[in-house]
Subunit: 450 residues, 2 copies
């Protein structure tokens, strides 16, 4: 008898898991339930179709449904899973009733946090998530003159930039003093905010949303602590919260973030039940503080681990050091681990090493500035975090590297003496990370702490 693995969720975690199961156990019977009519598309691309950078939504689809049939993965579309019974090892799928599993992987994803203000049932509130809905919303945006984006979250940054690119008068309403205020540092975000202003975006920081205002059932604006702002559309980009409904109702252990608690095998507290992606929480490698709402890349990798173990293989997922990056306004921002904002909030002491470097030779066309900020542990000078802002080139690859540098304990000395490619069209004489580390060591030496 082949082992039956049921997967709840058709996103990156669920499909990563399906592939993981099949790789570990080609004979496994794999059923994926998704409440949507599509799988295998990139929801992360949606803001860039709205912004006009990508031509149309069809480009976001990765593989046809047949590819999953061919791989022996049985996807049940438009099928919500409404209950989980861990004692009986069953899930209840709409229209199918109770379905038994040998192994279960939960990839139930996230919900946007409820803004918790009146007017949440008005038409014209756009939660960016599903591609079919995005296609409809794109037509609405064609006739939108003024939009409000609620919260300068990672998605909020993308949507503000996209709407401004599209020529819509865009207002950003956010309760923090700067954008991405829960993770990014103000000096990193300052150039981004300046570029938004140049693009005509109206920024309303330190501003609390108080209500969605309606007219005949349709949103006509927002009420905030700084007054009323009219809008044809409000894009609600509140933070992601783990969708733990099934798991918590079934009694699985839920963590402080609301994410399902998993071990390094991505196993939950229930026998035979794994979880992956945005519905889980994962400890930060340095602080051990649980994190949720990571990227699709994390979800996919976690899914593969969960699926491999569900399929009888053995694979572990490690603590995360969270390289991140995104275009915002005319810049690209990014980093690894954490910046000063988080370090300060958690009471983690640090010394700084900063530089404003360049992406290629100073005289080569297309050269961009890159500001690099490194946080190191006092004494050991081990790297513990980094943030960057620059013209785009290499921010992603530097963030990937810096996350590994934190994970493997590289010090400012290691970074200061690292070699770098020098070729005028692609790299400057001095790599900005090296310059930052060297500057930091020089300042410590001057202060007698080197």
């Amino acid at each position: 008898m082949p082992r039956r693995t049921v997967i709840v969720g058709g996103g990156a975690a669920g499909l990563g898991a399906a592939g993981g199961v099949k790789a570990a156990d080609p004979d496994a019977e794999v059923t994926v339930y998704t409440e949507y009519e599509d799988i295998a598309y990139s929801p992360c691309g949606i803001p860039y179709v709205h912004g006009g950078e990508i031509e149309d939504f069809q480009r976001l689809f990765l593989a046809g449904k047949q590819a999953y049939v061919d791989a022996g993965i049985d996807v049940h579309y438009n099928t919500e899973v409404t209950a989980l019974n861990i004692a009986r090892k069953t899930v209840t799928a709409a229209a199918e009733g109770e379905v038994s599993y040998d192994r279960l992987v939960l990839g139930t994803g996230f919900d946007y946090a409820d803004p918790g203000v009146p007017g949440g049932d008005l038409e014209g509130l756009y939660y960016v998530k599903n591609i079919r809905e995005a296609m409809e919303w794109d037509k609405v945006l064609d006739r939108t003159k003024v939009a409000v984006v609620v919260d300068a979250s990672p998605l909020g940054l993308e949507m503000v930039t996209a709407l401004a690119h599209r020529g819509i008068e865009t207002h950003l309403v956010d309760p923090n003093p700067w954008a991405l205020g829960e993770m990014a540092d103000p000096d990193i975000m300052a150039p981004v905010e300046e570029s938004w202003r140049e693009m005509g975006v109206k920024l309303h920081f330190n501003t609390t949303l108080e209500a969605f205002l309606g007219d005949g059932g349709h949103v006509r604006g927002v009420q905030t602590s700084a007054g009323e702002f009219p809008a044809d559309v409000v894009v609600v980009c509140t933070h992601k919260t783990p969708n733990n409904a099934l798991a918590s109702a079934a009694g699985l252990r839920i963590g402080t973030t609301g994410g399902i608690v998993v071990d390094e095998r991505m196993a939950t507290s229930a026998d035979g039940v794994f979880a992956a992606g945005d519905c889980t929480e994962i400890p930060h490698g340095f602080t051990q503080v649980p994190l949720q709402g990571l990227t699709g890349s994390h979800a996919y990798a976690q899914g593969k681990v969960a699926g491999t173990n569900a399929g009888g293989g053995s694979r572990t997922y490690q603590s995360v050091y969270v390289p991140w990056g995104t275009p915002a306004g005319k810049w690209v921002i990014g980093g690894a681990s954490f910046g000063e904002t988080t370090a300060t909030a958690l009471g983690i002491p640090y010394v700084l090493a900063t530089a404003e470097g360049i992406s290629r030779a100073r005289y080569y066309p297309g050269v961009h500035k890159i500001k690099v900020k490194l946080l190191a542990e006092p004494g050991s000078l081990r790297l513990i975090g980094a943030q960057m802002v620059g013209g785009g080139e290499g921010i992603k690859e530097r963030a990937d590297f810096l996350a590994m540098a934190v994970k493997f304990g590289f010090t400012l000395h290691d970074l200061s003496t690292m070699e770098n490619v020098y070729s005028p069209p692609i790299g400057a004489l001095n790599e900005p990370i090296v310059v930052a580390a060297t500057n930091g060591l020089n300042e410590l030496a001057k202060a007698g702490k080197g």
Copy 2:
């Protein structure tokens, strides 16, 4: 009495050293001798001015001569140093006679290897080095219809691409079976060669230069093992050899490559004499094989170390893992440590891990393929080398990272489980390095060697 440091050479090594001395000992008397009339420009930019990517030669100058005066660095221009006497601690500078030093830094650079064929004294042979000469040669290139580039060295790659961009019929003559044949692997170079052919470049591999052919004292072509090729100009891009003339005449220890032997303080075998840059040789961190002809970035960093120690400070320079990269044809190539060609030549066993990944989301405009090839030590699976070819984005930053990965002993497991930034405009769901490492592990597992 301030200590007198004499520096021979006004390139990256010499000027890095001058700054290093002054940082360590602000009162030091620092004299730099250069045989040229300029300092502080970027010779590495010359091919890109010839190619039209950079507007004019003036852009290559970094700082005015006054900046060195202001920094208390006394530069003697057009002044060749003809002798070194380590017993008397003097150098002989043309027109100045014998000059004594307390500390000496040799930054005498490189010469192009003598092609060793008849006709070397003809006019029309271009050795790319000095910016004033490059300005004159640029006028010659304006009326050049056909050019031959001798040797597919790193400079040869740049010049072939530059001349082709400029619309000159360009022939490349090289004795190896593929371009950059002493360090790059054929699979990495294949797309580059294809793109050169698309640009109209005529490639003559496995072809030995036999003579420069002249007419009235001016070159009219080359004689090779594959016949005669006419040319208005021949660009001689033979490999760099350390300029060790002063050092070897004075009895300093010279290594197997012809480079001056230095310790980790960049000190030579003579008391008080340091050396840096292309005139030295430096051990490869993994093989311990001495290398010469590294980049301007290496020369500058070595100069700083030499200068710091000459100034009474303390700084060490480490073995090198040589991240490298350069545009070639329509691609960018790069790597770290070594590839299969070198590993095979040195008898170093390796296992391969390869992938063809992408630089950003598959659907995002500007996405490029990146081929990544990792070499790992059998058994330990420690990374020992890497080569890449791709559309440009992030090759430099990946090479920097991979050199550190070799230096710090990252394994294919470490690279396979590394996190990566996922943001459609700047990074794909799966980082190509991660995909390569994972593919390699999967193949080893299939072969029962994982």
